[in-house]
Symmetry: C2
DNA sequence: TAGATTGTTAATCGATTAACAATC
DNA sequence: TAGATTGTTAATCGATTAACAATC
C-alpha cells in the first residue's frame, strides 16, 4: 500500500488536537463536529478535516467524530500506544527538571537513566534513579532497550555525545542543546531551542511596539 | 513608510541565522556569501537572501555580507539591543532551572523575580532572588518595569494568572504551561509545549520504523 | 426522507526556489 | 573592466481554504 508522506505541518498540529480531544473526553463529550472543534480551537473546520483525512476517515457523515475514538486514533498515530525508554544526558537544572516531570510517564515515556560528567553528581538520586558517569552510557543504552536520549548538556559536548548515542543504537534525540546535531537521517531529532523561542518572543514584543508608534 | 508584515516563518529562522553568524564572528570570519551560509546551514541561498531582504539590503553585490554587521542587524531585528525584565511564575523544577539559566542575561533578558503559591518555597533564593508569594506579583510588576512573564505553573492556574499579568501591564508571556492562553492580541505569547514536542519525536520514530517494514 | 456533516476535489493563498538583471 | 554576488522578479511548489457531492 502506497503511503503518502505526511507533512510536518500536519504532525505539529496533532498534539494540539490530542490535547483538546482529551479535554472533551474528560468532560464526557461523546461526539464533536469539525465545526465545533474549529470554534474552540480557532482553526478552520476545513483544515481539521483535511488533517484527519491524511490518516483515513475517522468520522461519519451527518454525525461528526466520536471523541473517544478520534482521541485514541490520534494517540496511536503519535505512537503513544507504545512505550519509550528514555535517558537524560546532563543532570544540571534542566536535566533534573525534566527527570522530575512525571507527566511524560503517563504518555508512555519512561525515564530510565541520568548521566553526567560531573563526579559530584554521581550517585545523586532523582525519582529513585542515580546519576551515572557518562562512561556507563553505552552499556546502559544497550542493556535497557533505550530508544530516546534527551540532551541537556552544553552545546560543546552535544554534537559528539549525539554521535556516540547513535552508535549505541538510540532512535531519537530530544535536543535541548543550542546546536544543530549532525546525525544520520534514520535518527529522529526534535530540537527545543529555548533561546530561539525567547528571541522570537522578543521580536514580537519589539515589532508590536514599533507598529504602534506609526 | 509602509512596513510589510513579516511572516512568522521568516522570524522563526532569524535566531538560527543569528547563532551561525555569532559563530562565524567568533571564528574571526569577516565576510560570508549567501552560498557559503547555505552550505553550512543547509538551507537554500535563495531563501537566505529573501529572508534578509525582508528587512532591507544587508549585503553588497560581488562581496556578500559582512558578518559582524549582519549579526548586529539581526540582533537588532530580534530586539536584542534592548533590555527585558522578566519574572518567572512557578518555582518548581522547571522554573528554577530557567531562573538558573545565565545565558539569557547575556542577550538582555534580566531575571528579576520568582513567584510561587507554595509557602514552603517563599524566601528560598535562586541566583540571589527570593521566591515571593503570588500576592506580591502585581506590585512587583508595576514597580520593576517587568515586561516578560515566564509561566511554569500547572495549566489549571495558567489561564487566570496570564489574565492577571496582562492587567498588571506585562507585554509578553513565555508560556510553558500546557494550555492555550487567552490574551488580547497586543500581548505576545510564545508557547513552549514540551509534551507536544516529545509527541512529535515519538511520531517520527514510529513513522520511520513503519516506513522501514514496508 | 430531510438534515447534517464528512471526505475530497478544486481554488486560492503564501512560501520557497529559480533565474537573472543590477551593481559592487 | 571582468567576476562575483546581491536584490528582486518570476516560476514553482506546497499548504490552506472553499465548495460541494457523497452518505450517514
Amino acid at each position: 500500500m502506497e503511503e503518502k508522506e505526511i507533512s510536518q505541518a500536519v504532525i505539529s498540529r496533532l498534539p494540539r488536537y490530542f490535547r483538546y480531544l482529551s479535554e472533551l473526553k474528560y468532560a464526557g463529550i461523546e461526539r464533536v463536529s469539525s465545526q465545533e472543534l474549529s470554534d474552540i480551537m480557532k482553526v478552520t473546520a476545513s483544515q481539521i478535516r483535511q488533517d484527519f483525512n491524511n490518516f483515513g476517515g475517522f468520522g461519519q457523515q451527518g454525525y461528526g467524530y466520536n471523541v473517544e475514538f478520534l482521541h485514541n486514533e490520534i494517540g496511536k498515530i503519535l505512537g503513544l500506544d507504545r512505550t519509550h525508554h528514555l535517558i537524560i544526558i546532563g543532570a544540571g537544572n534542566l536535566g533534573q527538571a525534566l527527570a522530575n516531570y512525571v507527566n511524560f510517564e503517563r504518555r508512555g515515556f519512561l525515564f530510565r537513566g541520568l548521566f553526567d560528567n560531573n563526579p559530584d553528581l554521581h550517585g545523586k538520586k532523582i525519582r529513585g534513579i542515580e546519576v551515572q558517569p557518562m562512561e556507563s552510557m553505552e552499556m546502559f543504552v544497550k542493556d535497557n532497550d533505550i530508544d530516546i536520549a534527551v540532551l541537556t548538556i552544553p552545546k560543546t559536548e552535544a554534537v559528539t555525545v549525539a554521535e556516540q548515542l547513535v552508535n549505541y543504537g538510540i532512535k531519537g534525540i530530544w535536543n535541548f542543546a543550542h546546536v544543530d546535531l549532525n546525525v544520520p537521517e534514520n535518527i529522529q531529532v526534535e530540537n527545543v531551542h529555548l533561546s530561539d523561542s525567547l528571541m522570537k518572543l522578543s521580536y514580537n514584543i519589539s515589532r508590536f511596539e514599533l507598529d504602534n508608534t506609526k
